[in-house]
């Protein structure tokens, strides 16, 4: 009895340092972040990234205990021997010209590419089954992926994770451009997150705001990464990314100010309890530049500076795990305010109503010095009713010239003199102070050639109809009413006939 007790004590002592030794890092971890970038065109881009890292060798051991890493995807990796999986569903197009370079762009529709392990014997079979299973998980029509839209790239799409040899016969790539993204794809994507949509950054993921955007892209990326700096073993990394671009004009009523509540109709209350990091980054690069005074509210406790995509950028960091950030008001609503009125201070647009009123567009613009500002409007040509054309439609239709009213700063300040005393050419426009003068300029009228129908068509139609009627009806009439007689064929050529004509003229019997 005593011996047993002593043995038990010994065993406990041995286990002691093992169990309560130095703090072992957890086997899986979650990091979530949101990056908000005001774009040059006035829109706002928000990129969510949720990264779950799992220190496990899925291939070697039969795993059955899943914590943060979703079981649906973990079973997928082990069943189909995947090395990498990248699936994206996108609606819209990233306009690089107006918005700058994206972090991660995706093609419109659905894109799926995967690298299989070297141990897979029939890659095409596994690819087909994989796309069927994914179509069930994400409620997308990925089962339409087959040999007609799958390719094996030979030089591009190298593995984004760890790789020990790149034999491209284990790579498959397919795109479905017709695929639609909607709430039914967002719902299972959200359910893969450890905190679902209950806590942390994922509370902002509301479908009715996320789909009211110019660009919406959600993606799932699975790849093996180095577990530590020595990189002797492999961890699996699952990244779920969601990028949206909010159209500031439509959703912000023309003002460039935005806030989390205005974009997502929610604010952040608490970090996800399962996350080891939960941060919001706001791009404030343009706040340090000249004449741009914007402020981010609440003021950030830390900033982050680095060279991103080739340029140096500054980010305001809000760490949700830091108690000071969320403490005061129990909710975090990041707001961006412009201290001065922004350049496009006023826009008034009245669209045209057919045959009732024309388009009207008025804008108040502040022009930067030593620069050229171009304003362009796209329009489409429509077809008019045939009675609405002028007698000379090929001349074209006129668009009235635009009016530019400007206050130009004077080089030399003028004295505002008496109205009656100054000569007439100086008193056309009333001036309040002499530092700038008013001028009104006009552009040229625009002559637009509209597609004109062929007005001679009725004439052609009448001719054609009459010909057809004459040929058909006339032939039938002749067939029915004329009688036919057999005539002796005339022998002889042209010369003989000519001779007969002359003979007949002379009154001599023919040959």
């Amino acid at each position: 009895m005593a011996a047993a007790v002593r043995l038990v004590l010994l065993v406990l002592l041995l286990l002691g340092p093992g169990v309560w030794g130095q703090a072992e890092p957890p086997r899986d971890s979650l990091r979530e972040e949101l990056v908000i970038t005001p774009l040059p065109s006035g829109d706002v881009a928000a990129t969510f990234q949720f990264r779950t890292r799992w220190d496990s060798e899925l291939q070697r051991e039969g795993v059955s205990h899943y914590r943060l890493f979703p079981k649906a995807l973990g079973q997928l990796i082990s069943k189909y021997s995947l090395r990498e999986l990248h699936l994206s569903l996108t609606q819209g197009f990233w306009r690089t010209r107006y918005w700058g370079t994206p972090f991660l762009q995706a093609p419109s529709g659905a894109e799926l590419w995967a690298w299989f392990q070297d141990s897979v014997t029939d890659v095409d079979e596994s690819w087909k089954e994989l796309s069927n299973v994914l179509s069930g998980i994400f409620c997308a029509s990925l089962n339409f992926i087959d040999s007609t839209n799958t390719v094996t790239p030979t030089a591009s799409f190298k593995p984004l994770g760890l790789a020990n040899g790149t034999d491209h016969s284990f790579l498959r790539y397919a795109v479905l451009p017709r695929e639609v993204v909607c709430t039914e794809n967002l719902t299972p994507w959200k359910k893969l997150l450890p905190c679902s949509s209950k806590a942390g950054l994922s509370v902002l993921l509301k479908a009715d705001r996320l789909f009211h955007t110019s660009y919406h892209s959600q993606a799932v990326h699975i790849r093996p990464v180095c577990r530590n700096a020595r990189c002797t073993s492999v961890s699996w990394e699952l990244r779920q990314t969601l990028s949206v671009v909010f159209d500031a004009f439509i959703t912000g009523q023309g003002k460039k100010d935005w806030s989390l509540f205005r974009m997502f109709s929610r604010t952040l209350t608490e970090p996800c309890p399962l996350a080891s990091e939960s941060r919001v980054y706001v791009d404030i690069t343009s706040s340090g530049q000249d004449n741009e005074t914007l402020e981010v509210y609440p003021p950030p406790l830390t900033t982050y500076q680095d060279v991103i995509l080739g340029t140096r950028k500054t980010y305001a960091v809000y760490d949700l795990l830091d108690a000071a950030v969320v403490s005061t008001s129990r909710s975090l609503n990041v707001q961006l305010k412009w201290k001065r009125p922004p350049e496009n201070g006023y826009i008034h647009y009245q669209p045209a109503q057919d045959r009732m009123q024309p388009h009207l567009l008025e804008m108040l613009i502040q022009l930067p010095a030593n620069s050229i500002t171009k304003v362009s409007i796209q329009f489409e040509r429509a077809l008019l009713k045939w009675t609405e054309y002028t007698p000379d439609p090929n001349h074209g239709f006129y668009v009235s010239p635009s009016v530019l009213s400007a206050l130009v700063p004077s080089v030399v300040a003028a004295k505002p003199g008496d109205w009656e005393e100054s000569p007439l050419f100086n008193s056309l426009f009333p001036v309040s102070d002499g530092s700038s003068y008013f001028v009104r300029l006009y552009t040229e009228p625009l002559l637009v050639s509209l597609p004109t129908p062929d007005f001679s068509m009725p004439y052609n139609v009448v001719c054609l109809t009459c010909t057809v009627v004459a040929v058909c009806y006339g032939s039938f009439y002749n067939l029915l009413t004329r009688t036919f007689q057999i005539e002796e064929p005339r022998k002889g050529g042209l010369v003989k006939r000519l001779a007969n004509l002359i003979r007949r003229a002379r009154g001599v019997p023919p040959l």
């Binding site: 220190d55 087909k128 709430t183 577990r227 020595r230």
Partner: protein, 395 residues
Amino acid sequence: MVDTYFLSQGLTTLAGLLLLPFGSLAASQIEDQAEQFFRSGHTNNWAVLVCTSRFWFNYRHVANTLSVYRSVKRLGIPDSHIVLMLADDMACNPRNPKPATVYSHKNMELNVYGDDVEVDYRSYEVTVENFLRVLTGRIPSSTPRSKRLLSDDRSNILIYMTGHGGNGFLKFQDSEEITNIELADAFEQMWQKRRYNELLFIIDTCQGASMYERFYSPNIMALASSQVGEDSLSHQPDPAVGVHLMDRYTFYVLEFLEEINPASQTNMNDLFQVCPKSLCVSTPGHRTDLFQRDPKNVLITDFFGSVRKVEITTETLSLQPDSGVIESSYKKDQMVEDLMEPLKYAEQLPVAQIIHQKPKLKDWHPPGGFILGLWALIIMVFFKTYGIKHMKFIF
């Protein structure tokens, strides 16, 4: 002795007499319990909701299907037991002024699309073939579980179909049709394979009653929004969205279902009265001759709700974290990793390697008929012009 004997016998008869009424009371109680046990013989519920119309102006059909989906989910059937087929996407359609929403009532009162929706078959996948495969279970093996109807012989299935239809057929996506005979045969296949216990079939199309005329399998109850020769009409347009939002019959069915909760005792006879001719303009019809139970004994929740066996307990269970398992296997990994050499990431654009890649040899195909004919023509013209004597110089 004799009197005690008679007394005891009297007592026993008295006891017997007293026991008799008790016995009959107990027997009737048991009978009640037994009747309740046999009242609804199903153990699980499934729903197959199909919208067969494509294009923006058929918004109302998608709204019809989604409102039934919403009611069915609210009354307890989980997504894993619902097969939802929508032939077109209205919520994220570029013409929708409020994206990610599908409204059933003007003034945007009720968003039937919601935030938690799983569409199993969408867009081009909604075809007659896929619908019949779902019903009969003859599905390719690679189909995921969410797209299958995994019902058994104790399942009550609700099948709701909406779209454009005619006398004896229902149009799928403007390109194909399913006839009432095909549908009846599919249900007979389901009966023979014991894939349902009871089936409720609801259809909201023009001349919908023609679709259930040909059913011949037992335990099917059918409802339709209009008789043969009548059109089902839509309810109301919305000026903001620009199209009609719902059909009349389903609108009133939705109103009726909004008042049902999982514990309500409303029966099928109330559902038959839902849309009288004054409200619906068409005459809704129903068919119950194949159904074994009396409709007044059939609860709405038998088909629209779900059977859930829930046991409520008041004792708490505390879960211990099993850190022992995790720690020991982590140690094993650490030992192995020290032996392997470091791994590295692949280079994304190895220009030198790509340039010197050998391209795959394309397979040689013999020239086609056109090329051969063209060459034959050229050669014929050449020899006709210059004579056959040149041939020996060529060959």
